[in-house]
Structures are given as C-alpha cells and as structure tokens.
Symmetry: D2
Subunit: 439 residues, 4 copies
C-alpha cells in the first residue's frame, strides 16, 4: 500500500558503508573492464572468473559452475538472518555504438551458430560491479552485521539463468535466505531509485505457433487450406486480446515478432510459423491472456477447416516479478534513509520489461524485493516534468536498456548501486527482530 | 454437351403459330394493363383474376387459389404427352421510373406492414402475357397437337411461390408432365434467346445470423465479449469462402447485406445480427459454400469466447435451376428452327440470378428446361461485341431486371416469347415418339 | 510525486465539522428523497428546486437556471480565498433493481423521445446530499473560516453539463476560485477515499462514423463498393490502436458500441454507421489514439475504393480529469488528518471512467482536485486483499456505478462525503497563507 | 459465338496424314527418349539438338539458338499462306513418381543454384513429339499443300520463353504467319480435344510486395509500426478482391504464396515480404484485379501509418491466352472433321492455368488458336458424367499437369496430337481462299 508509509526506523547502514569511498575508483576500473568484455548468455566464462577471484580475495566461500557459469559466494557473520543478493552477468548480441573508451568490439558465436557482436547493453556489468562492491564492503565490515549473505552472480538472465540455477540444486546447495534482493540499472537520472510493492516487472511468455493448412497450386486454392490466410486471420484476431480482454487498468502486450511461410508466389504452402511474445503484469492477466491467445489460434484454425491442430510450443517463460509488500516497505524505508526521501520513487505501475529474478523467491518460497536505480546523466532530463516521467515513462530520446547507445554514468551509478544493496541488506543484517519478520 | 449439336429434326411448330399475328395487338394491350397493375408476392389477386378469366374464355379447365393466388389451366387434345408451361405473376417493391404511358403508380402493404411502391420490375407481366398468348394459340389450334398442356400461373416467384404450389398438392391435383418448360425475359436484345444444358441459374440461400456476446460498459471491454468485433471478424472471414474455397471455374457469391447491433457508443451490446445471402451455381459448390459459411461463423464465435452458440436461421432457399441435358437439346433445336440459328445462344456459364422454377421439375421428378429471351432495344447494343457480351455479361448501362428502369419492348418481345413457348412445347406435342424420349 | 509525502500541517477542520452529527439524520432523509426522485440530464427541475430552497434556507446567495437547471450558491465569510465545491445532479436511464424502500420507480422521456426508467445509478444524489451538508456546515460555522465558497450544483454530468455552465457565463457571473474541488462516490468500502496527483479519470470522446460504399444487388458485388465489408475491416483494424499504438504503461479503450447498415440480405447497402467511444488517460495518448482512429477509418475507406470520404462526427468529448499536483498534496494531507492515514489511498493509475468536472478548472485556469469516496458495505470486501484491489480494481461482484444494483450505504457515506469536502476546503478557508499558495 | 456453328466445308486433311501410321512407332520411341531426358527452362540443349537434327533430316531450314535454346524450322511448298505451329520444350523441377520404364531420374541446377530433380511433368515432351511428327508429315507430303510452315520449338514456356523469342528478333527473322497454332496435352481422356473462342487460358501476374514498418522491441509496440500486423491486414483484405470485385461470371485468383518477416518473437521487424500470384481470365478483369491489389496494399500501409510506401515489384507476367473467334471456328470444324463431332468439346469457360503461347499472336498481330488434347487413360473416367466434367472440371483423382504422376498414354495421344496439328494447319494450307480470310 503506497498510502501506508512505512514508519519503522530503518536499520543503520552507515557502518556497512565504511570505506566505500576509497573503493569506488577500483570498482570503476572493474566496471570498464567488464563492459569491454561482454559475454553472451551461458558463455560468461571470463566474467565468472573475475567474480570468483574477487570473491575469494575478499574472503567469501565460492562455488563456481552453478548452471554452467554461475558463481555463488557465501559469507557468514555469526548467527542471524540470511540475505540473498543477486546480480546477473550476461551481455547481448548488440553492436555497441556508444563510442566510449571502453567500448566493446567483441563478437561471439550465438545460439544459432552465427557470429554476432556482443555488448553489455542491459547494464549487467553494472550489476556485477555493484554486487562485488557490496560483497567487499560486507567482508571488510564483518563486525557491523550479523547473519549470512549469499551473493549470487547469475548467468544468462536474458534466457532464463535464474531457473537454471534453481534446477542446478540451488535450494539444496546454499543457505535458505529470508529475503532475496536484486536491482537493475535503468535509464532514469543517476541518484534516483524506484520500486513498488506487488507486481514490478512483467511476465514474458514466448510461443512458437505452427499453423497447418494443406498446400497446393496457387491457382487452385479450392483444393487447399491456405495457411497464409489462416496466419493473417490469427495475427489480426490476436490484436483483440489486448484491445478487448485486458482492462485499461491492466497491462499486456501480444506481439507476433516473426511470421514465415511459403517459398513461391504460386504455391500455397502447408504451414506458416509464427513466433509470439506475450507480456503481462499480473498473474491473473497473464493467465487470461495466454488462454485467449490459445483459444484464438485454435478457433481460427477451425475457421479455416485446417487439417491439423496448430502446434503451440513454449519457447520460454518468465513470471511476473512480484515484490513482497512488507519486505518492499522495509527496503523502501532503508533506501529513503540512505538516499533521501526525494530520491526514492514509488512506480505507479509495473514496468513492461521482464526479469527472471523472481525465480529465486518463488523457488525458495521467501519474499523478494527488486528495484531500479538510475544510471543516466541527469542533464538529459533537464526541463522534463518528473511527475510526467512517472506517468508517461522515460522518453525515447534517452538510450534505454538493449540500445546500442546504452551507457550508464559509471561513477555515481556504482556508488548508488552499492549503497542501495547494502542499505537494503542492512535491514535484515543489522536491524531489530521486528523488522525482520514479515508483516 | 455444347459440342454435340442436336441433329434431330425439330417438330413442326408452324400450325401452332397459326393466327398469332392477329392476336398480338390484344396481347400488347393485356401486357400494358398487367404492367400498370403490378401486385406483390402472394397478393396477385387481380392478376390471377385476369388469368383465370382469359383461360376460361379460351376453353381451359381452370383451378384457382393454388398456393393462395396461383392459377392452373389444363387443356387436353387427345392421348399424348403432358407438357407443363409456367409463368410467374408477382411484381416487386420498386418505384417505377420508366416514364412509360402505362407506368405503375401503385403501392401496396409489404410483408413488414409498410406501404411500398410496386412495379413489374422483373418482367413477370411479360411472362403472363406470353403464356396467355400461348394458351390461346393452343386452344385455337387444338387439332395441331396431341396430349395435354398444364399452364401454370405461379404466384410469388420472388419469395418461393413454386415450392408453395407443390406443397399445396400440385402433384396430386394436376396431370404429371413429361417436361416442365419456362422462360424469363432478359436485358438482351429482343429477338434473341439463350439457354444452356445443366446449371442455368444460381442457387440462392439466405440466412439470418445472430452472434452473441456479453454486453457491458464500453470502457470495460474486459468484462464483456464484444459481438461487434465478432461480427467484423465473421464478415471479413466470410470473404475467404469465395476467394479460397470456390474454384475459378465455379461461381459463388457470399454477401452480408445487413449488419445491426448496439445502440450507444459506450455500451457494448449483447448481440449483432447479420443477414447473409449466398449464391452458387452447382449443387456441389452450394453444399461446400454453405458448410464453409457455417463453419466460419461457429469458429469465430469460439475465437471470441462467445457465451452462446450463434443462431443461424434459414430465411429462404432456392436451389440451382438445372436444365436437363437431353430436353435442353430438344428445346434448343426447336428454338433454332423457329427463330433462326443465329438467334439462339448457348450461355457459357450459369447466371448468378436465381429462380424457383426448378421446384416443379424436382418435385415432379421430370426434366425441365428454362430459357431467357431478350426484351431490350437492340439499339442499346450497337457497337458491342456479341462475343464479349457472352463472355463478360450485359453491361451495366442497360437496365436489368429489378431496376426501376426495366422496360422490355413489348411488341417484338411478346411475339418471341409466345413463339418460343409454342416451339418448345411442340417438340413434345407434335413430334415423334423418339423426340419425346429422354436420351 | 507519490514519494514526496506532504509534510505541511493540515488546516484544522474540526470547527467546520461542529454540529454535523445532528445534521446527519436530516441529510439521510434528503438523500432518500433525492434517490426516489431521479431526473435525467438537463431535466433536474425538482432536484434544482430542492437545492435552491435548501441553500436559501441556509443563507446562501442563490442563482438558478445556470445552463438550464444548474444552481450556484455563493457564501462569503470575509476577505479570503475563493473555493469552488461542485456536485452533479442528474440520474440515468436505468431501471432500478435495488429493492430499497426508496427505490425509484420513475420514468421520463429521454432525448430520443422515448419513455425510459430513471435511476440515480451513479450516486449523484449522494453528491448533492454531501454538498448540501457541507454548505449547511459552512453557513452554520461561518466564523470558523474566511473567504468565499462557490457551491456548484451542476446539471447533466452524463452529457456535459459542466462545459454548458461555463458557456452560460459562469466565469463572468461568479467569483473566480483559487481551487475547484469535487468528489464521486465509488464502489469502494465506505470510510475510504482515494485520489492521485495528475490524471485521475479518463478522457472520453465519442464519434459517429459513416462509411460510404455504393449499394447494389447482393449477387453482383463487383458493381458495388460493399460498406459492410468496409465496416468490418474498420472495426478489426481499430483493435490495433490499443494493441499496437498505446504503450503498456498507458491506458486507452476504443469501443465500437453500435454498427448499423443494410436492410435485406440480398441488397448491398450504400452506408454503414458506427458509433465509437474512445477512452484515454493522458492528453498525449488521447491525441495519438484519436489520430490513429481517424487515420485507420480513412485508409480503410481508401482500401475499399469508397466513392466518398467517411463522415466522422464528434458526438461528445470529455477531457482527462487532471488533479493539480500541489493542490492534491494539500487535499491529501487534509483527508489523512480528517479520516486517518490508513483510509486515504493513492490510486496507482488513472481510472478509465470519465467526468466533466475538469471543465471548471480548465476554463477558470485554476488548479482542481477530485477524489473518490467509498460507498459500499465493507462486508462485501471481506477476505479481499486491499493491495490486490488497488492493483486489479474493484471485483465485478460489487455493484458499480451505472449498475441497476448500485446502492451506497447512505449513513456512513454521507458523513465521509461531507467531512471530505469540508476538510479539503478548510485547507484554503482556514489555513495559513503558505498552504494557500501553489507549490 | 458457340451457337453459330461453322458450316464451312473443312479442308481435306487426309493427304497430309498419309503415312502417319508407319511413323507412329518411331514417334513413340522419340517421346520416351525425350521424357527420360527432361531439361529445365532455358537449359533445353539436348532437346534442341534432337529437334534440330530431326528437322534437318526431314528437309526443313533450321535456325538454332533463338532465345538461347529455341529452334525454328521453315518449310515452303510454293506460294500460299504462312502457318506457325508451336511446341514448347522445357521440363519442371519435379521428382517423377510415375514408375514408367522411361522415368526421368535426372537432376539439374535450378535458377537459384541448387540441384533439383527434373521431370517432363507438363507434357512438353509430348508437344515436341507431336510437332516433329507433323513436320515429318508436312515434309513427306509436300505436294498435298501450298504455302509456308514455321515450326517453332520454344524454350522455357514455364518462365516466358515465348516473349524471349519475340525479343530475339522473331518477327524480323522469320516469315510472318497468317495464323499461330498450338496445343497442350491435358488430363482429359485421350481421343478428345477441347477449345473455345475468346479467352482460353488465364493471365498470371506475380508480384513481390515489401511492406515496411518500423521495428523495435516487442514489448513496446507503441514505438514501432508493426509490419506483421500490416501484412496480416493486407492478406485478409486481398481476399475481398475476388470475393467482392470480381463478378460470379468472371474468374480470378489472388494467392499470397509466401509471407516472411522477423526473426525473434520479441523483436518487431522492419519489413515483411509477400509473394503474390494473380490469375485472371479476361483483360478487363486482369486490369481491375491488379489495380485493386495495389490499391489495397497502399491503403493498408496508410492505415498502419507506415513510414515508407510499400515496394511492389513485378516478378513475371503472362497475358490471357485469347483464341481468335473466326480462326477458332475454322480450326474447330477441322478438328470435328478429323476426329469426329463427339470428340471435339467447346470449353464452357477459360481455364485458370496460364500459357505464354499468346505472345506470338500478340507480337505478330495475327490471330492465334490454342487447343487441349487428352492424354489420360479413358478408363480413369469410367462412370464420370462428361457434362459434369465440363461443368466441374477434371477430378483431382486424375494426375494433372505438374503432378509427379502425370503420364499421358503416348501411343494414342501422339496420333491425336499430330492429327490435330495437321488438320488445323490444313485449313490454311489446303483450303480455299475464303477459308483463309478472317471473318
């Protein structure tokens, strides 16, 4: 409840921040190195090596190779709550155009066997840097807190590395946390953070749909079932899912990103293949939208008299990232205390982007909290109304995640990112028993 | 088979035509009187009265009141074949704009209770006139033929008077013919006739379709099932029946002539109603098209998640008018003999107009032959290529049936119409036994 | 900014509430009387009479007949800020099904000349009651405040009575306020209020669209331009406005509430008429959606080769109801002080319903604030998660505005409504100079 | 006019047929050799070699290399009319499945660089065989006729070899004929031939259509113009061309044989490409359909607000194959005389298949006549109604042209094919002056 402001006294984060200033130049160098060496999902070998080495230097117990390239560090400071902090490590097949001194010029072989450029276009380099900064602070200030921290450096966020870590025995292999905390750098002004209780980021479900007809000569459609016409009817009808079956107060997106069928103009093919991506911001909407998509696909095939049921195959599925209400209030008050009231925003609605962070909280059956922190030059926002930004979102003139121009300002962003992680964690690691209990 | 020219010697029609010249002025007066007094379907009281009186004067045995306003005359000239000749009597709710001296200014109360203008816009007045001319000739030249003629003056061709006469016991009440003959005046040059073996005129099936949704406030479509969107999807998908399921060598038309749903812009209604008309030119195409229309309607309702199955109600149904191959060859040779080779055309394909004449042959299980005879001023066709006319059809500049300007040239058209009826009938009434047997 | 909690000390409302308890029974009787006597938009003669009489009894200066049935009261308590308080008065053409003792059984002649049932199905009776309660309190406690109150009893909110009052010289005839305040009873638990800075309620634009084709016989579509197919294409294509042109973070609805064309199944009509309602929650989205709707309608007519441009006529237009940020913070703190922190919610996003209240602030060029107050039995919400309610909205099981079952609990709702009006107004009428200045 | 039977006495073909019986076994061997050695379009090197050698042996003046692999023979028998006889030579990229002793097992490199199987699946081997039989008869019976014969062995009928020969100077290099004659083997019973005056075979036009949008992230369609939705709207709207803009008496087909756009489900692409094939059976319908297709494509792009006009590129174009009316009557009477009345059919309507033969008559500005002759085992037609065959077309159970099972019965088909060519040519080469003049 955004109206029920949290009045609990935030736990003191100051002791955990001790020495951070001196550490920032080194973190910036680390960031530039990571940025210059992006790796594709599940190929984060170099990154994982850097992470593991740093953690070991800091004194963490390190497990490598979780879900391939994942790294997990564990550090204990006596009896106390267990807190999970997570960063993701993978880059994207994007050709960097930032012109930065530490621009990536790397390429890699993608999942389809072709060589592609690689760029840290989603800021996961920043996430790794901030978490390594936080782990260093926690190790250096071990007396200032009690409990256990599990630092998760996850591979392959873009394609589902979090569930892969779960499937690789995460629950059995590492201490069970009381809360999972994570963050993402965003195209908001550096210095600001935003979050919200409840749904924060959208679910994403991807489907491959094969629509079957019966091919034949293009001049004799009457002896065929034309799958191109069927596909067109499906695509148009799918537009009604968002326009008619999702309320204005809810958000969903149904995109047919690819459509392929046929070879020659005068031959009606046997099949057309669609690739569909579906976003939704609450579990109820997700369920309704997925059901409507399937209902429409099957009914349109029936309308065409298709000789075979469509094949609907799940390509991947990310659930809604849901922030626990009580834990979010706890984190929010910590962020307010650490950054200042005016720098902590409650997002009015879920973002349409997706994230696999929620897999940890779901699988471990514990609350989780995720937040965004700004990485963009505040000068870019000069003259923009902050209220309108909250209402209308970031304008397209500001390079956003996945853009070839995405370039957080490392200096101040790293400081905010490390501080936010430590402030949030401190609520459990240094707070009173009351704070640590779920409401 | 158009290639298998009929080589049988036509029966001599000349004796049956004896005295026709003197009768023509009276027939023209009759035509003008009928034209000036059109009556709507099943309201042909005055017309039926004129018909019955004339037939009695001529010496025919007359039955009135068959299917309401139908009149049947029977005349026998000794032992011999029975031939059925049919004319239809009803006018249309059209406001005449011909400006003829005998223009109709009449109105009547239509089936929905409203007063409408009435016009003989489809030439049924010409059909009645020609058949009364033929019956007069047959009565006057009774020694020139042998057998029995059943002259049918049918009501309500526009809405299915032929099946109504069958249902009124036609088969039991009148002699069973060996052949049913009928004709229609057409916007072709007067003096010419056209027919074809096999399908001659299209089937017409009309449906009322009720598509059910679940209404609600226009701002909350997610709590409704929007029948307007469903109706739109149905209308667009129905286009694929003709474009994909009917071969280029076949012909069909699917028209949604009416669509009605809703009252206010911000209230989603519960139901949208469509009225659909379907034309097809062979029984196989008809069956396929009707099945496809129903398949699409039901599947689109499923695509919408409709709370109730659509209601599909037949409004009316006319089958394909099919000319018997052998009997058509027999009639064709008679028409060639009577009118000249160059004036008898074999139509390259069925016409898309519909006709209920076929109900007689179907119900009585005997062959039937229907033909068209021109009523239009040949001057209108000056400069047009007759081959192109056959290929492309009558140009829209020439007033066609159902037009407010439809105005056959009575003089010559009546002569051709009477002659054609007598020539065709003579093949059975004056020919040899061979001619009368089906091939 | 929801994060920037208002820290200004709320003005003391207590003196304005003095004597309210004793007034409540009379207000309840008034409410039941108004509920039993609903009147359609611009027909609020009896209601206006009751209002004017009460205001005069209370000592207000009363102007009647503003925009037909509107009533404006003015009361001054010395030098000070001017505050506008507004209530709307009209009922709806709905047949009441509440079964309450004071159920309306009234009918009236609607704008289309037909007799319709009338019901206060949107709670405007509650709005009038609460404002008359507030005006009574203000008059009775005139020493407790300074300034001038303009009490607006507006006709015809459902069809745009607010702009009608503006057009009737409101600006020139009455004191110009510093703030406009208004409220609406909602299907939320009684005792709770909700509002938000920025867009609160959606814009609503209604269009009549005439799509022109060229009619003809249903069996000859090639000589026509079929407006039914055109209309279907328009309806389906309009779905893409919301599905493709409105971001997930924004909200819009495009509903085709009515579609009408044609009479008979075998006649292709000349025209199909649509009625379209468009909701949008920010001015930018509104502009984009309206442009897209027009673009699609015109392009689809071009796709059909329509012989005439579509006719697009505005039926009515309500802008987005936008709450001034600073004034909303001011009101919010007053509501928190008067009702308790836990009873004042910040709505996470605009509501999709529309309201013409914004016309006052826009025309007078002053900030305005609107809020909702619950009227529903809290028992109906037992077991529901309040956070989920904010996220997902009121469940359809609870009778909402415009429902035939809409029935606020008068007792407690009136008390909350009067209190909220007085508390909000007190921020200007009893506060310090600082409070009264816009941030 | 099919009704105006030709009554001119056919020219005596008998002398031209002298010796044909003895030649048939050799023609059959030739046919089997050609069938076993099919070559793709414009690759007919071996076939052209066989043709040229045979023509030279027979005494014809031979030109090779016309349009690459085309061969033209000229033979003169004194002063007299010039007649062009044409056969096409190319095979198809089809894997033969006939199981015949002379089955093709050949492959070749197709136009896209890939190796493909090759088969004479369209009977062009039969056409070459029959024309070489006719040229042999003409050479052997040179005293039985007067005039000049131009025997054209055309390459690449499947992709437009006829216009290629015209462009290679055909008109200037060879005698200008008075008539062009050609034939095609068809899946009709061997022994039967069919033709019709006017349009005989359909025009075929192929287009590549590029629909441009503006790509972007699949979760943010509002910042894109989605070309997948645009393509779907185009495909569905194109269905209305045939369903609404082509009369039931006319024939056209619009097929979208290929649709391709996008790569990933969550990336909206910039472009979708369609390949469209359009069939039409009269020049007027062709023009209307092509215009409607372009109109719809452009308007739908406008409906989407596309950032760039669609690109519409012609891939290939074959005109309607039109038989001259008078020359067709002349040929028909010759075929009737040579084969018997009952074996010569007038096709009721144009076929939807296409042919480039018309390019000769059009370019040379002389009448042309094309006919089909049956190649199928009559046993396959046992029990089928010949009238229904004319009305409904060849049933799909009988292997048709382009099928991997297409296998004319060589023996009787060759005799009919040679006889038909000679009989038709004889009308000009042995007839009276009257016959040779156009009506």
């Amino acid at each position: 409840m955004t109206s029920a402001d949290d009045t609990r006294t935030p736990a003191p984060v100051a002791p955990l921040l001790s020495g951070l200033d001196g550490r920032l130049p080194g973190l910036r160098t680390l960031y530039e190195d990571l940025h210059a060496h992006p790796e594709l999902s599940f190929q984060e070998v170099r990154t994982a090596g850097v992470v593991a080495a740093r953690l070991r230097e800091q004194g963490w117990e390190v497990t490598e190779g979780v879900a391939g390239t994942g790294v997990v560090g564990v550090l204990t400071a006596g009896e106390g709550p267990v807190v999970l902090l997570r960063a993701d490590m993978d880059g994207l097949p994007v050709k960097e155009e930032t012109g930065l001194p530490y621009t990536s010029g790397r390429t890699a072989v993608g999942s389809d066997g072709e060589e592609v450029p690689v760029m840290h276009a989603c800021g996961h380099d920043m996430h790794v840097t901030c978490l390594l900064g936080a782990t260093a602070q926690l190790a250096a200030n071990r007396k200032a807190w009690r409990g256990t921290v599990v630092a998760v450096f996850q591979p392959a966020e873009e394609v589902g590395g979090a569930p892969a870590m779960i499937e690789d025995g995460f629950r059995e292999r590492f201490p069970r946390p009381e809360v999972c905390l994570g963050q993402h750098v965003a195209p908001a002004p550096v210095g600001f953070v935003g979050t919200r209780p409840g749904p924060l980021m959208a679910a994403s479900d991807s489907l491959r749909v094969r629509l079957f007809g019966r091919g034949g000569h293009g001049s004799m459609p009457e002896s065929t079932v034309d799958p191109v016409v069927l596909a067109a009817a499906v695509v148009l009808r799918l537009q009604t899912v968002v326009s008619r079956e999702v309320g204005a107060a809810q958000a969903a997106v149904v995109t047919v990103g690819a459509i392929h069928g046929g070879t020659k103009e005068n031959i009606i093919p046997d099949m057309v293949e669609l690739k569909v991506n579906i976003r939704s911001t609450t579990p109820a909407v997700r369920e309704r939208v997925l059901a409507a998509v399937e209902r429409i696909i099957r009914a349109e095939a029936a309308a065409s008299g298709a000789p075979r049921e469509p094949e609907i195959t799940e390509l991947n599925s990310f659930p809604v990232t849901v922030n626990d209400h009580a834990a979010t209030a706890t984190v929010r008050s910590a962020l307010v205390a650490a950054l200042g009231e005016g720098r902590v925003f409650t997002l009015p609605r879920p973002l349409i982007g997706s994230e696999d962070f929620g897999a940890f909280g779901t699988a471990l059956e514990v609350p989780s909290v995720f937040w965004h922190f700004g990485g963009a030059d505040p000068a870019l926002f000069a003259g923009l109304d902050p209220d309108a930004l909250l209402e209308d979102g970031i304008p397209p003139t500001i390079p956003a995640n996945h853009s070839a121009l995405f370039a957080p300002l490392p200096g101040p962003a790293i400081e905010v990112g490390v501080t936010a992680l430590l402030a949030a964690a401190a609520q459990w690691l240094t707070g009173t028993a009351e704070v640590n209990r779920r409401a």
